[in-house]
Amino acid sequence: AQSVDQPDAHVTLYEGASLELRCSYSYSAAPYLFWYVQYPGQSLQFLLKYITGDAVVKGTKGFEAEFRKSNSSFNLKKSPAHWSDSAKYFCALEGQGGSAKLIFGEGTKLTVSS
């Protein structure tokens, strides 16, 4: 079965600190992995994706994520964090083999204090 786990419902840190939002997945084959961000009152916005190739992928807004097959993780990182990064972040998995659906984690609400 395919699943995505975001173990931290809330993360709070100060502006200027490094942020890392955790995501782990369960999938029997090589996954396609995504991060989306949702600002209050807005729709989900794409940040980055991992399909194949380099384990570290760079996305929009200064974010990057590292795919680690060894522990089935795809953590989102940014340094330094800015107060405008405060939002809810969703990790998602898309299966191969023709599937065109995203399986989302429950999301992590990030609060960056200035």
Binding site: Y36, S43, L44, F46, K49, F90, G98, S99, A100, F104
Partner: protein, 113 residues
């Protein structure tokens, strides 16, 4: 950037009535999706649609649900009849292809009373 528009943003409907949620996807996109999010829970896939047909649907996509996109107009989700447990935010999304960036609308909050 490209936008997916959802109409209306809120809808309140009596249990047992029919409701149609409308979505205007990004103009050159070929894949269309509906997701459901109950308050405080994760977003869950309902259905995807390509070339005029449902490609895949989840167990949440009950027999009372249907989707269509007649002649390139709105991509719609119809629920008939509605039930209390259908209360949720429904997100429409579209993409140009599989594994490409999926663009989401802001959601329609459906309340069944």
């Amino acid at each position: 950037g490209p936008k997916v528009l959802q109409i209306p943003s809120h809808q309140i409907i009596d249990m047992g009535q029919m409701v149609t949620l409308n979505c205007d996807p990004v103009s050159n996109h070929l894949y269309f999706y509906w997701y459901k999010q109950i308050l405080g829970q994760q977003m869950e896939f309902l259905v995807n649609f390509y070339n005029g047909k449902v490609m895949e649907k989840s167990k949440l996509f009950k027999d009372q649900f249907s989707v269509e996109r007649p002649d390139g107009s709105y991509f719609t989700l119809k629920i008939q009849p509605t039930a209390l447990e259908d209360s949720a935010v429904y997100f429409c999304a579209s993409s140009q292809d599989r594994n490409t960036e999926v663009f989401f609308g802001k959601g329609t909050r459906l309340t069944v009373v």
